[in-house]
């Protein structure tokens, strides 16, 4: 019991010490600036103040939706890759079918011009 969980205890202790140390070091040696970009919620993101009814081109949504499909494809690929050896030929063919169907979809959106920005 102790032997099994001892490394975890070490990890917890080390993580706590390092976190506290880093915070302390930055308090002692860090430079303090106030105002300007520091005060904003996103230092390098979009401006937090402005009209909420801003129009965003629909192309962004299209790209985002198409991205999700291939994103999910990768999500499926990870567990498949982990147990690839156990699945054998059957698993390989199954995934090939899945990927080929998605690839047909990819060529379809290319052909339809859904990825053209202009």
């Amino acid at each position: 019991m102790f032997n099994t969980f001892f490394p975890i205890l070490v990890l917890i202790v080390l993580a706590t010490i390092i976190a506290i140390a880093m915070a302390t070091v930055s308090v002692i040696f860090g430079r303090r600036t106030k105002g300007g970009a520091k005060g904003e919620p996103y230092e390098s993101g979009i401006k937090p103040v402005g009209d909420t009814k801003e129009r965003i081109p629909v192309k962004f949504y299209l790209i985002a939706i198409l991205f999700i499909i291939f994103d999910i494809e990768v999500v499926f690929l990870y567990p498949w890759a982990v147990i690839y050896n156990k699945l054998g030929m059957f698993g390989f063919v199954e995934m090939l079918v899945f990927v080929v169907i998605l690839m047909v979809g990819y060529f379809y959106i290319l052909g339809k011009g859904a990825l053209k920005w202009d």
């Binding site: 169907i101 047909v104 060529f107 379809y108 052909g111 339809k112």
Partner: protein
């Protein structure tokens, strides 16, 4: 029967690849030739039918996918309705949907693949996935006229109602799984009987599950009181899609209902089992569907809305055969759907052609059609009389069988309601015939269907007359397919 018989999946796999091919073909030919897409979709469906005749009979995935006689019978109906929907779409495809022809035909085929999966499902999860595969392409197809407010409204309504009903259905199915510990329908039947025999009763969970499954499938079937979406969706959607919805999608709902209730919950379809008797619940809904559908159809001035209410009533007649829950009952349901395929697809095809020519769906604009286009007026009359159930057309034999099954099972009151309402229905069907033949107005419109639409009409008329006079072959096949449920 071997356990892993991959060949029975060949028709579905072929149709799926063919649909992808049509998507690609549309891009390849740069939208130049609209006809080639339609013809290749029809060819694909024909080849699928041939493949179905070669590769059938067997089970796959440890019984999750069965290619039995019932599945094949309904698959023929699905392929037929898709074939006819594609055939009547040629004029629309060449004019109204210039930029998405490949998607239009491809989605019809995808939906057909879903229906074929659904009819083969002998297990709740496969059944649910089949139902989703069927309806998701249909949401898109219903909203296919992107510039037409009614069509977009139809698509949105169908999407919301469809998603809602899928959720209810899934909840009902999860309750069934919770009660029986299995998703396999036959095992479910055995487990429920075991529980009932051991404890003498089954808790209210089963009632809840039944009501939810009835509601979930009832939405797809447009059974009263789950029918509100049907008239708006049927009116707004492109007419061939309306036809496909009213035949293909309904037949899919019918086969799902038969699999769950007439197979899985057959033990509860009797008076002794009150209040677990689903037969009486469905019988009441069927009576309501027949009364409401037929009476509301009387007031319709738009042919698509009228046919929508008529199809609500027709599903009421189908349910008479279903509540009978006997071999004859299921056979009569199959036969009814088979004839309904011809009659309804035919009537909607005429409506499509007419709408292409005149841009109108009003019944009044059909006046004088018999003088300008006598053949199509005659076709329309045959379709409508068959829907009304006039001998010697197919609709008569279908109604006769359904009523016989109802009487045999002791639902005499339901059959009386059905008989009375079918007299009412004759009025609005005959009203169109009267408008076409005896209107005083001067006829102006002459319709010229494209070759495929003509073919669809010819197949429908021949089917109705032939199987009306000789119901034997189809009825034998339907009886054969009903044998897979052990009564």
């Amino acid at each position: 029967m071997t356990d892993q018989n991959w060949s029975i999946l060949i028709p579905e796999i072929f149709l799926f690849i063919w649909a992808l091919f049509i998507f690609g073909l549309d891009l390849g030919i740069k939208r130049k030739n609209p006809k080639i897409l339609g013809y290749s979709a029809m060819a694909g469906l024909t080849i699928t039918g041939i493949l179905l005749a070669i590769f059938n009979g067997g089970i796959l995935f440890k019984g999750m996918f069965q290619s039995d006689q019932l599945a094949i019978f309904f698959k023929v109906i699905f392929i037929g309705s898709a074939f006819m929907a594609v055939g009547s779409s040629f004029d629309i495809a060449s004019e109204k949907i210039r930029h998405h022809r490949g998607e239009y035909y491809g989605l019809i085929l995808f939906s057909t693949v879903g229906m074929m999966f659904l009819s083969s499902a002998s297990e709740l999860i496969t059944l649910y996935i089949g139902m989703e595969l069927t309806t998701i392409p249909l949401y898109v197809l219903a909203a296919f006229y992107k510039d037409d407010k009614l069509s977009v409204e139809a698509g949105l309504k169908y999407l919301i109602v469809g998603a809602f009903s899928s959720a209810i259905l899934l909840y009902g199915l999860s309750l069934l799984y919770g009660l029986t510990g299995t998703t396999d329908i036959v095992t479910m039947k055995i487990n429920l009987s075991l529980v009932f025999l051991s404890y003498g009763k089954i808790g209210p969970g089963l009632i809840l599950a039944m009501i939810m499954v009835i509601a979930g499938i009832g939405f797809k079937l447009a059974l009263v009181p789950f029918h509100m979406w049907a008239p708006d969706v049927y009116q707004g959607a492109p007419t061939p899609i309306t036809a496909f919805l009213s035949v293909g999608s309904k037949a899919a709902g019918v086969v799902a209902f038969a699999r769950i209730f007439v197979n899985g919950l057959i033990a509860f379809a009797s008076d002794v089992m009150k209040p677990l008797d689903w037969g009486i619940i469905v019988a009441i809904l069927a009576a309501a569907a027949m009364i409401l559908g037929n009476i509301t159809a009387l007031r319709q001035r738009n042919i698509k809305r009228m046919l929508a209410y008529s199809s609500i009533a027709q599903i009421g007649y189908v349910m008479v055969g279903m509540v009978a829950a006997s071999e004859l009952g299921i056979a009569s349901v199959g036969y009814y759907m088979f004839i309904y395929l011809f009659a309804n697809m035919g009537a909607f095809t005429i409506a499509t052609i007419f709408n292409d020519k005149t841009g109108s769906d009003g019944i009044i604009s059909y006046s004088g059609l018999s003088k300008t286009s006598p053949i199509f007026a005659a076709y329309m009359s045959i379709f409508l009389l068959s829907l009304a159930g006039i001998p010697p057309l197919g609709g008569f034999a279908a109604k006769y069988l359904v009523f016989a099954a109802g009487i045999q099972a002791g639902y005499t009151w339901l059959v009386i309601v059905a008989l009375l309402t079918s007299v009412v229905s004759l009025y609005y069907y005959a009203n169109i015939i009267k408008t076409m033949y005896f209107s005083a107005e001067e006829p102006t419109i002459k319709i010229h269907p494209s070759f495929p639409a003509n073919l669809v009409l010819l197949i429908s008329v021949i089917g109705i007359i032939l199987f009306g006079i000789f119901p034997g072959p189809i009825l034998d096949w339907a009886l054969e397919s009903a044998k897979i449920f052990a009564f």
